[in-house]
């Protein structure tokens, strides 16, 4: 972290002419900065969870204004998608919200299936829904653990990470990878879930409620935790909607908006779950909402496994769906088919598709304009972290520097997703 006293004589004013060229991100400290100084928080600060840079103007320990600066991790995912095509884009979605890669895989394939006009079989939808919820649990566990650690409660991190480890072992068994899962395919999923795995996951989900009680014991009525979080970073309902916030951040402000409930996709219309909402919109409410979402996700997991249908895991749509790997390795026809689909011999119908799903960080999804062919003409990903981060410039001013850490933890963003 570097600090720099602003010279009293020369105010740092943002150049108004020629935006976009040669202009630095600057803070206008006014004519008389007085005791104020400019402080850079990030992009390598440990509590900014990646490469978020906050340019703070502070008066002592109090923040006067803040400019969030994003883009340090921009890799041009949308351009990559428009070049590579639908099938080859799926591995790239692992690297969006890298704490919940399975949820991103599912979100992408749901959108791409709409483009192709096909539907995945029931069993694939059920497995995907289960994967989304497991990803939500693991993302919230990391968010919660890191949040608590940043605020000073080291123990919670160790508890949540041990459960997260169990989840990643499940992911490894199912997909062959812990983080870069690339599990879904257009028209289904890559591998089937076996009965033993489902039994283990069900036992895990059923036992999660009791474990969540342990974590709540550590935090919910912890005096320090409450002092650090109650009344900090308050987001009103109007502010939340104006900033387009979604996910636990919006629900923490009292808006019961959840894509899973309002426009069910996958298997969500067949499961019963509650959408928790907060009352005050402060950090503490966002923490409570996330905690309850972990419990609800486990509840959905149990229900999905109990209703798990039997049947194929890939749709029978040879014009769009990759053949089974075993067939590719042994059969001539399937090999040719796989080769053609991957190299771009796929003709999607032209049109525009909007597909938004409830990711762990909020509502995320795709606007895709197809003009035929194997690649989208335009692929737009709505990154919930990107949208949610904007609110920082309104809620941070007035707080102490140490409160920023709590606010960042309660917003729970991932820069891989934010920067695309």
């Amino acid at each position: 972290m570097t600090s720099q006293h602003t010279p009293t004589a020369a105010p740092v004013a943002a150049p108004k002419s020629a935006p976009g060229i040669d202009s630095e991100i600057r803070l206008d400290a006014g004519d008389d900065p007085g005791e104020r100084m400019i402080l850079n928080m990030g992009p390598q600060h440990p509590s900014t969870h990646g490469v978020l840079r906050l340019l703070l103007e502070v008066d002592g320990e109090r923040v006067v204004s803040v400019v969030p600066d994003v883009g340090y991790l921009h890799r041009g995912k949308e351009k990559i998608g428009e070049t590579l095509g639908y099938h080859r884009y799926i591995p790239y979605t692992d690297r969006l919200d890298y704490l919940a890669p399975l949820a991103n895989n599912c979100s992408a394939t749901w959108a791409f299936e709409k483009v192709c006009g096909i539907k995945a079989p029931e069993r694939a939808e059920a497995i995907r829904t289960l994967c989304c919820e497991l990803a939500r649990i693991s993302a919230h566990l990391l968010g919660l653990g890191a949040y608590a650690m940043d605020v000073g409660a080291m123990t919670v991190f160790l508890y949540t990470f041990s459960e997260r480890e169990t989840l990643y072992n499940f992911f490894e068994y199912l997909t062959g990878a812990r983080f870069t899962t690339t599990y879904t395919r257009i028209g289904g999923v890559a591998r089937d879930a076996d009965e033993g795995w489902l039994k283990d996951v069900r036992a895990f989900c059923a036992s999660l409620d009791a474990k969540a009680d342990t974590w709540e014991d550590l935090l919910t009525n912890n005096r320090i935790w409450r002092i650090r979080n109650e009344g900090v970073g308050v987001i009103t309902r109007e502010m939340a909607l104006s900033y387009g916030l979604t996910g636990p951040v919006l629900r923490g402000s009292g808006v019961a908006y959840d894509v899973r409930k309002d426009r069910p996709y996958g298997f969500y219309d067949r499961v019963d779950f509650d959408v928790p909402v907060g009352q005050h919109g402060d950090c503490y409410d966002r923490y409570l909402v996330r905690m309850e979402e972990i419990r609800q996700a486990a509840r959905i997991g149990v229900q999905v496994i109990d209703q798990m249908p039997n049947g194929p895991i890939l749709a029978d749509e040879p014009k769009f769906v990759l053949p089974h790997k075993q067939g590719v390795m042994t059969g001539m026809e399937q090999l040719i088919h796989q080769f053609m689909l991957i190299t771009g011999e796929m003709d999607t119908p032209p049109g525009e598709v909007h597909s938004h799903t409830e990711l762990p960080k909020g509502e995320g999804g795709y606007i895709i304009r197809s003009e035929g062919g194997a690649a989208p003409w335009r692929l737009k990903y709505r990154a919930p972290s990107f949208v949610n981060l904007q609110v920082l410039k309104d809620i941070i001013p007035g707080h102490m520097i140490a409160d920023i850490v709590a606010i960042l933890g309660s917003i729970d963003f991932v820069m891989g997703e934010c920067d695309k």
Binding site: A14, P19, G20, I21, D22, S23, E24, I25, V70, G71, H74, G76, E78, K79, I80, E82, T83, K114, V115, G117, M239, L241, S242, Y243, G244, V255, Y257, D262, R263, P349, P350, G351, E352, V353, H354, S355, H356, E363, I367, R369, S370, E371, G372, G373, W377, R378, K380, R382, F386, V387, Q390, D394, D419, K420
Partner: protein
């Protein structure tokens, strides 16, 4: 480059299914062309003129309760002249779950009025669209690049921007 010269979207005066009466009433003062979707999976949408762009959103927000600006982006058709860009804004009514995709067209070097006075989320959304396509938003308080470096030359998500080799042989 691909041979696509024009958009696949087709517009007509026929109001598509899924547009509520409140939205139709809010949009009545404007010249609106409705889109029909060749494939399922999209929300009903419409095309409005650039001058009407903020007014349409204002009417939808204030009269039909579309509180959330969900998404904002642009699509580029380099060979469609004079207006190569289509700017898209997806608004949502979180009570009735109705969504409308509003579109407008703009030429290269042209500008579209900003939506920042209606939604604060439009700030970064428009900066992203500006950063990626070079479309200017009239009245935006701070229209600078958001993902790319400030001194970057070019507009990465335009269709004629190469994936590799940009600026490699520049003087």
């Amino acid at each position: 480059m691909s041979k696509v010269t024009t958009s696949c979207m087709r517009y007509s005066d026929r109001v598509p299914a899924g547009i509520s009466e409140a939205s139709q009433k809010a949009l009545a003062p404007f010249k609106v062309q409705w889109s029909e979707h060749p494939v399922h999976g999209g929300w009903p949408g419409c095309l409005v003129s650039g001058a009407d762009w903020p007014k349409v959103f204002q009417a939808l927000k204030e009269q039909a309760n579309f509180e959330l600006l969900v998404d904002h982006t642009a699509v580029d058709y380099p060979d469609r002249l004079p207006e190569r860009f289509t700017v898209l804004g997806l608004v949502s009514n979180i009570h009735t779950q109705e969504r409308i995709m509003v579109r407008t067209r703009v030429a290269e070097g042209g500008s579209v009025p900003t939506l920042t006075h209606l939604w604060r989320s439009a700030d970064w959304a428009e900066r992203e669209t500006f950063d990626m396509f070079g479309i200017r938003f009239e009245g935006h308080p701070e229209l600078t690049r958001i993902y790319m470096p400030q001194d970057f030359d070019g507009w990465p998500l335009r269709r004629d921007f190469p994936l590799q080799g940009h600026n490699r042989f520049r003087d």
